[in-house]
């Protein structure tokens, strides 16, 4: 049953209300949840996808955006393989907070983590952040960029599949270890001794 070859941890961060939970639900359950409350702490979901005949298990951590949950959510950055930073294209304040989120990522996440900037809610008419502004921001900070709509299911599948493919490629070429069900090396934290710079001291 659990015959996957790779397991990757994907963590979603960003202000409360930008649609992180909806993106995850859309991807894992194929639905747009009506009026669910704000996330408390962190939520955890799993979806196994196939990339080129290989089973890849994505462990998706959906975090709460509010400040009072920060000490919970921060503790999940370190073991993340990919971090999705989400803002709402119809809300300038959520875009303005991005630098704060980046600072947090710098501080707590591995330097090798795959980082993706996502502008969500493109189905909305009242866009405040033009696409090129988001794109430039992402480029400036060395991130992938994608615009999505959890509501209309735009680019959601693509977002997660691209992450899975990218992490697979990394795993094959770099030192991300293969998941081996006998010993639980489920993350990319194998700092080899010769490479002392690598994530042995993240802070």
């Amino acid at each position: 049953m659990d015959d996957y070859k790779f397991l990757f941890k994907v963590v979603l961060v960003g202000n409360a209300g930008v649609g992180k939970t909806c993106l995850v639900r859309r991807f894992t359950q194929g639905l747009f949840p009506p009026g669910q409350g704000a996330t408390i702490g962190v939520d955890f979901m799993i979806k196994t996808v196939e990339v080129g005949n290989e089973k890849v298990k994505l462990q998706i951590w959906d975090t709460a955006g509010q400040e009072r949950f920060r000490s919970i959510t921060q503790s999940y950055y370190r073991s993340a393989h990919a971090l999705i930073l989400v803002y709402d294209i119809s809300s300038q304040p959520t875009f303005d907070c991005l630098p704060d989120w980046l600072r947090e990522i710098e501080e707590y996440a591995s330097s090798k983590v795959l980082r993706i900037l996502v502008g969500n809610k493109i189905d909305r008419e009242d866009r405040e952040i033009p696409e090129n502004v988001g794109e430039e921001f992402a480029e400036r900070h060395n991130m992938y960029y994608l615009e999505t709509s959890a509501k209309e299911s735009d680019n959601v599948e693509k977002l997660f599949m691209q992450i899975a493919e990218d992490l697979m490629k990394q795993a094959r070429t770099r030192d991300l270890p293969r998941y081996d069900s006998n010993n639980q090396t489920i993350d990319g934290r194998t700092s080899t001794i010769n490479d002392s710079s690598c994530c042995s001291r993240l802070q």
Partner: protein, 750 residues
């Protein structure tokens, strides 16, 4: 007068009912008679059937019979029709009776209610109103239309309606008065009257609002006493947790005592409304307690300091003096976990109470689900839950700091006792981590537990692991190990973080202890994961599958710390290999080259009588290994012997390839390889066959009588070996035997 009229009416209806009942009786008798006749006739038909010749007669009679049967069915139809109308009549009579009794009650109530109000007998008055409210109001209207003289009845209705609103006002007013007078008997008295007047929601609201004032007063008193608790008091350090406990226990007691009252007089399913009102007071009082707690315990200042310290330590210019002593946080952390757990328990209490109240009192599934949804919202959106989250956040920051600082301290105070394989930092670190995780379990929050596990993982891999790595990185000075002096001096120098370059013995010991620490830590990690899982399952028995997944993911992160530790061990073992094993072993094995491997029979006897190459080698290996045997953990010692075996066999292989042999030389080699393998097998707990496979095969080849004997071992027959040598290697080896003919070797088909 009207009463008389009603009585007459009733009488005439009853007469009619009796008449109809008599008629029904005679009809039923008739029907029975006919039914008797029917069986009789059926018997007759049977008899007639035998009389075929008189068919005509029978046909005639059958016709008669048919007619009779038809008659019977007609009659029965008529009868059932009659019965139906009889039923109708009866239900009409019943309705009529109800209307009559409503009218009579209406009259009685309207007369009684005023007297009751005048007598201040509010229970009686409310009972009248309750009777009036329980009447089918549309039926009343219909009765009124049917009546000749409706003014009397309408008057009664109006009287009662007026009385109802009058009573509502009175009861509300009296309740307030009773509350102001703290008159418990009256409070309860009027609380029971509200629902009689149809004021369920108001009654609960008024009553719970009153209860709120009681809660507030008690909370106020408790908080004052908490604030003034002297530091000498035994419970001073957890006095705010105690205050919260009192608050929630008080609320729970109120809920428990009043639930039966509410259920009896208001009906089931009303607890949510009651608790929602109390929740507001609970929110307010909790916030007050926490505000006071925050001030007294200087929680913001501590948070700020911790934040600054973490920022400073990353820029590595921090002043040790300003640090908060982790031990000083111990007490505060305990208090927070207690407070958090109390809130958690209170939330669970509400949840349990309201759920079971809804399950008992609300039969409709949808209504019940709505209640449960409202309950979830009530808990989720309460200020209490906000406070809980904030407390957890405080807890996590403090606990994280505590863990990091305590582990740093354990490392700084690291010491190794004479004759010990590991140093104190391992025991101490895992003690701290276990303590922190245990403490997180006592918060009752799965999210909290997961975070502490994540942090433990980070501290072990980064802080703790990095120290072990660092010590191994300093290397193992080559030379023999003599520990007699090392332990004493190591004690002090290890704590300085760096050993003086001259102290080679200490450096060696420090290196080996670090290697052992890593090994012993893998066992600690495994045990930790097991124990933690058990403890969590005990503390939170009702995890759903999603929560379990979350927990297991975090725990698997912790257990994968062992991978990290194994890397560290591997690194250390490779260091040992290059500095302690390789340089020592090479000259010993190279002695092989100084020996002749072309022996005569005499030389063979002489060789065997004296000290042979392999005896010397084994003796040297023995000395080397025994110097490590007691100081290394058994797992590390095994790793070392594996590395040593690999080195010896590879080197021996190399020197063999540089030597030539005659028959007896090959014989000796075979013997020597066997005794070497025997020695190493005895010295370790793992199988060496694999490591010796190539060497054994080389010896076998060099020990052949003739070249062609190789076919005994080569090929696909039963006696053949699984070769670790390629055909080319085999040819090269066999060619080392100078007594074998080159052409013969060349002719070999491999």
């Amino acid at each position: 007068m009207t009463e008389l009229k009603y009585a007459e009416l009733q009488k005439s209806y009853q007469l009619e009912l009796k008449k109809l009942e008599k008629e029904e009786e005679t009809l039923v008798d008739e029907l029975n008679n006919m039914l008797n006749q029917k069986t009789f006739l059926e018997d007759k038909i049977k008899g007639l059937a035998k009389l075929l010749p008189t068919l005509k007669v029978i046909k005639h009679e059958a016709q008669d019979l048919v007619n009779t049967v038809n008659n019977i069915s007609d009659s029965s139809e008529k009868i059932s029709g009659n019965i139906r109308s009889l039923d109708n009549a009866r239900s009409r009579v019943e309705e009529c009776q109800a209307r009559v009794s409503d009218l009579i009650d209406l009259e009685i109530c309207s007369q009684g209610v005023q007297t009751a109000i005048l007598d201040s007998d509010y229970e009686k008055g409310a009972a009248h109103v309750h009777r009036f409210l329980s009447m089918d109001q549309s039926l009343l209207k219909r009765t009124a239309n049917d009546m000749d003289n409706i003014s009397n009845m309408l008057k009664s209705v109006r009287t009662l309606q007026d009385a109802a609103s009058q009573l509502r006002a009175i009861v509300t007013h009296k309740f307030t008065e009773a509350v102001n007078a703290e008159d418990l008997v009256s409070i309860e008295r009027f609380f029971k009257i509200f629902p009689l007047l149809g004021l369920h929601e108001e009654g609960i609201k008024e009553f719970c609002t009153y209860l709120r004032t009681k809660v507030a007063a008690a909370a106020d008193k408790n908080l004052k006493s908490a604030v003034s608790t002297p530091p000498s008091d035994k419970r001073h350090t957890i006095v705010y947790a105690d205050t919260l406990t009192l608050l929630y226990e008080g609320l729970a007691r109120i809920t428990d005592t009043h639930q039966p009252l509410i259920e009896t007089y208001y009906g089931p399913g009303r607890l949510l409304a009651a608790i929602s009102i109390l929740q507001k007071e609970c929110d307010i009082q909790t916030k007050r307690v926490l505000l006071e707690w925050g001030k007294t315990r200087q929680i913001n200042k501590k948070n700020q300091m911790i934040n600054e310290l973490s920022r400073m330590s990353s820029s590595s210019s921090f002043n040790k003096l300003e640090k908060i002593e982790p031990k000083d946080l111990d007490i505060l952390i305990v208090e927070i976990t207690l407070m958090h757990f109390r809130i958690e328990l209170y939330n669970r209490f509400i949840q349990r109470k309201i759920t079971s109240d809804a399950e008992v009192g609300i039969p409709n599934q949808d209504d019940r689900n709505n209640i449960l949804k409202s309950l979830e919202q009530l808990i989720k959106n309460s200020d209490l839950s906000q406070c809980k989250h904030e407390l957890l956040s405080h807890y996590l920051r403090l606990e994280q700091y505590y863990m990091e600082e305590s582990v740093a301290k354990a490392i700084a105070m690291d010491s190794v006792e004479m004759g010990q394989q590991t140093s104190s930092m391992v025991d101490d670190t895992f003690f701290i981590i276990r303590k922190c995780i245990r403490r997180s379990v006592s918060t009752g929050s799965l999210d909290g537990i997961c975070v502490i596990i994540n942090n433990a993982c980070r501290v072990l891999e980064s802080d703790f692991g990095e120290v072990l790595r660092g010590r191994l990185r300093q290397g193992y000075p080559s030379g023999y190990l003599d520990l007699t002096q090392a332990y004493n001096v190591l004690q002090t120098s290890i704590q300085q973080g760096r050993l003086q370059s001259g102290d080679t013995e200490q450096s060696r010991l420090a290196f080996l202890v670090a290697l052992n620490n890593a090994d012993s830590s893998t066992e600690y990690v495994d045990a930790l994961c097991d124990n933690v899982l058990k403890e969590i399952e005990q503390a939170l028995p009702n995890l759903n599958s999603n929560e379990r997944g979350k927990l297991e993911s975090c725990l698997s992160g912790l257990s994968s710390v062992t991978t990290n530790l194994k890397d560290i061990i591997e690194y250390g073992i490779q260091q040992l290999r290059s500095s302690a094993i390789k340089p020592r072993i090479n000259p010993w094995v190279d002695q092989f080259l100084n020996m002749s491997h072309h022996l005569t029979d005499d030389e063979l006897s002489a060789y065997e009588a004296g000290e042979s190459f392999v005896q010397t080698l084994i003796m040297n290996l023995e000395t080397l290994l025994s110097s490590f045997k007691d100081i290394l953990t058994s797992a590390n010692y095994d790793l070392l012997t594996q590395v040593l075996t690999a080195e010896v066999t590879q080197r021996l292989e190399k020197v063999i390839m540089k030597t030539t042999f005659n028959r007896l030389g090959g014989l000796v080699l075979d013997k020597e390889v066997r005794s070497l393998a025997g020695y190493i097998t005895a010295a370790t707990s793992w199988s060496v066959r694999d490591k010796f496979a190539r060497l054994t095969q080389i010896a076998t080849i060099l020990n052949l009588e003739q070249v062609n004997e190789i076919y005994d071992y080569w090929g696909s027959h039963d006696g053949a070996l699984t070769w670790r040598l390629t055909p080319t290697e085999l040819r090269n080896i066999i060619a080392l035997r100078t007594d074998f003919k080159v052409e013969e070797i060349r002719r070999l088909k491999l």
